[in-house]
């Protein structure tokens, strides 16, 4: 206190006010809180009206809206509800008008009649939990009067525009997607044009490019099988479900699926877009991936698809063994052509490729080749060996294979491993059990994980079959091998 007095003596301007706490039970003070951005200026207010928001209806509807008497009423319902509430200890609060939010309507002095500003003031809790708030108002005699603040209300402007309800919002949201779709339609169109151009000019270049990231001959073979059945619905669906994987290695894919993919885009592009619009991973950005991308992730994806397609190895081999299947296939394709005008082009391409692949078959292996789905080069190579070996069989009922290739440097000599006895036993066992095709045998042995590559296995099986010399039957164009059991 003394220091204060000292200070007061030192400094010229010291004013003292008394502070009073008036007692007025009837008057209560509240705070109105506005955001600065609302630009509220009390001085500009011409008239202001306040009312409590009427939520009685909502409150009532929560309670119940059943009729008390007459039609639809239930005798003794209220008493029963009351009793039930008492039993469960439910206390229903009464409706209080003074607890409802304030509605404030303000007319500014400057603006016209039409521009009322409307605010809604919601009571805030927790402001006075740990402290007390007082307003200090200067009275006429210069003393301060301190009044406690009872409530805080946060006033926010009421929106004049109508907000969307859930359904409308949904509709708008869909439209947002559609805008994307227009874009993708245009994009698809452009891509198709590009594709066609590419197919004509850059097919050879692409071929070499794709060759660069093939890991082995096996890869090539398996992926060819993957793409080999044109009419197969499953394969188609699989491809559609994995647009990302498609995109991962675009060059390779496009080339291999050349005809099919383009047909899909041309003929059914409309439906395609709609389908893809549902998914976020639609084919937009895939094409920007460079052709030679050796992204490890994509590599993995590719492997997964290959493994999934592994079962189809069998069918591929079957086709190559019974080459008359091909003709059927072509006929199927032609049927599809009738439906699809665009496919005609593809078919021509395919035929072109067919001829080229035929040529390459007879020529050197390392020459860049067209990867037509049906006549992949490395694929038939394995099967051809098996085929030829069976054909060399004296009792072979197989028709002489269409194209026999001279023994290339790639084909390994049939080296029988040390566990050939085991193979022989197993093949014998299979054949005794039921008649099988060679492909089925191959499949069985593959699943045994003998440690040999499928190429090696083919050799081994051929040798073994020669050794075993089973009985042969042709059922539905497929050759079944069987053995009479020793017992029976």
């Amino acid at each position: 206190m003394s220091s204060h007095i000292n200070q007061a003596q030192l400094l010229p301007k010291v004013t003292e006010y008394t502070v009073r706490v008036p007692k007025n039970v009837k008057k209560k003070y509240h705070m109105m809180r506005f955001h600065n951005a609302n630009g509220v200026n009390f001085k500009n207010w011409n008239t202001a009206k306040m009312e409590r928001e009427n939520n009685y209806k909502e409150f009532k509807s929560l309670d119940d809206d059943q009729p008390k008497y007459g039609a639809g009423s239930e005798f003794g319902r209220e008493q029963r509800d009351e009793a039930r509430r008492k039993r469960y200890g439910i206390n229903i609060k009464k409706y209080k008008a003074d607890d409802q939010p304030w509605l404030l309507t303000v007319k500014d002095k400057n603006s016209g009649v039409a521009t009322d500003k409307k605010f809604k003031g919601i009571r805030e809790g927790g402001v006075s939990d740990n402290v007390a708030w007082y307003v200090f108002v200067q009275a006429k005699d210069g003393a301060f009067e301190a009044y406690p603040v009872e409530e805080w209300y946060n006033f926010q402007p009421i929106h004049r525009y109508k907000s969307l309800n859930a359904e409308e919002a949904e509709k708008e949201f869909e439209r947002r997607d559609k805008i994307m779709n227009y874009f993708s339609v245009m994009y698809q169109k452009k891509r198709n044009e590009d594709d066609e151009a590419d197919a004509e000019e850059g097919s050879k270049k692409k071929a070499s490019a794709s060759k660069a990231f093939q890991l082995s001959e096996m890869d090539d073979w398996m992926s060819d099988q993957d793409s080999d059945d044109d009419g197969d619905e499953d394969a188609e669906e699989k491809l559609e479900k994995k647009p990302k994987k498609k995109g991962g290695k675009p060059s390779k894919f496009v080339k291999k699926h050349g005809g099919k993919r383009r047909r899909r885009e041309d003929g059914e592009s409309g439906t395609d877009c709609e389908e893809e619009s549902d998914e976020y991973d639609e084919g937009a950005e895939h094409e920007y991936v460079s052709e030679d991308s050796s992204d490890p992730e994509h590599e993995d994806d590719e492997k997964v698809t290959k493994e999934m397609a592994g079962v189809e190895d069998d069918t591929a081999m079957k086709k190559l063994l019974n080459s008359d299947d091909e003709d059927d296939e072509n006929e199927e394709n032609k049927d599809e052509d009738k439906e699809d005008q665009d496919e005609n082009d593809d078919e021509k391409n395919k035929k072109k490729k067919d001829s080229s692949s035929d040529l390459s078959d007879s020529s050197d292996d390392e020459k860049p080749k067209n990867k037509d789905p049906k006549k992949g080069d490395s694929a038939p190579r394995n099967a051809d060996i098996l085929k030829r070996k069976i054909a060399e069989n004296p009792d072979g009922l197989m028709p002489a294979s269409k194209k026999q290739r001279p023994e290339g440097p790639v084909t390994p000599a049939p080296v029988l491993p040390s566990d050939s006895g085991m193979f022989e036993d197993q093949i014998r066992r299979y054949l005794v059990r039921k008649p099988m095709t060679t492909t089925e045998i191959l499949q069985k042995l593959k699943s045994k994980k003998t440690g040999h590559g499928s190429e090696q296995l083919v050799d081994i099986i051929a040798v073994m079959l020669k050794k075993i010399n089973p009985q042969k039957q042709r059922v539905k164009g497929k050759m079944y091998l069987s053995l009479k059991s020793l017992n029976g």
Partner: protein, 251 residues
């Protein structure tokens, strides 16, 4: 709905500047005790000629008896206002002819400065804080030693008054089959008031044995087994006095 009436806000004081002061709870407790208007203290505003800001100190009125234990010296710390704050007051309307409980609203002014009233750390304040801590540390429940054991009664399942009740009810509650038409009349009268009845309620109303009542009810009524009025009886459509549309409208 008097609470929802639209009130004109009195804007006479719309340009008045008001201070908003944050006050510690013990001061509020003290100030709310006073029965009438009291002078609680003095504000000393010291203006330095060099500086822009001024020092504000607040000292409690030492003539008041209850203030003696409190920290008397306080300083006002200024905070900047981040929002637009207004003060309104609600006054109970005492003019004759208006509804009880209705209020008048007036704008008291705009907050121009915001202060925090902080006690100066002196011996008084430390003592106050110690007291507060001590009070907080004392447990709410304490054990009391009693000098003699308290009587605890063994519970009885059959009290005298329940026995009496049972006797009375066994005599009265014997229901006899009345005339069928009379019962029907009673049922129809009941269904004029409400649409749905539980069979127990109908039994109380008609005072008939439940089997007999059920016989009649199956003729003129249908039984609801589904949610909104489960386990209740209602009249078959041909006996109703209200139309279907009316019922649906009410539902």
């Amino acid at each position: 709905m008097s609470g929802h009436a639209v009130k004109d806000v009195n804007l006479n004081n719309n340009s008045r500047g008001i201070w908003l002061v944050k006050v510690p709870k013990f001061l509020q407790r003290e100030w709310s005790q006073y029965k009438e208007s009291t002078e609680v203290g003095r504000l000393t505003i010291t203006k330095h000629p060099q500086k822009r800001s001024s020092n504000i100190a607040f000292s409690l009125n030492e003539t008041l008896e209850s203030v003696k234990k409190m920290p008397r010296q306080h300083k006002f710390i200024q905070h900047d206002l981040k929002q637009c704050l207004g003060v309104i007051s609600e006054t109970v309307d005492t003019t004759p002819g208006c509804e009880p409980g209705s209020t008048k609203v007036s704008l008291e002014g705009k907050i121009i400065q915001k202060f925090e009233c902080q006690p100066v750390m002196d011996a008084d304040y430390v003592r106050l804080k110690q007291e507060v801590m001590r009070a907080a540390a004392t447990p709410l429940r304490t054990s009391i030693a009693i000098d003699r054991p308290i009587n605890v009664f063994k519970p009885i399942s059959r009290h005298q008054h329940t026995l009496e009740d049972r006797d009375r009810s066994s005599n009265v509650n014997k229901n006899f089959r009345a005339d069928r038409d009379k019962v029907l009349e009673m049922i129809f009268a009941a269904f004029e008031k409400h649409q749905y009845y539980n069979i127990k309620d109908l039994q109380k109303i008609t005072k008939q044995p439940i089997t007999f009542l059920k016989e009649i009810l199956t003729e003129v009524c249908s039984y609801n087994m589904k949610a909104p009025h489960r386990n209740t009886w209602e009249l078959k459509p041909e006996y109703r006095h209200y139309t279907k549309q009316e019922e649906q409208a009410l539902d």
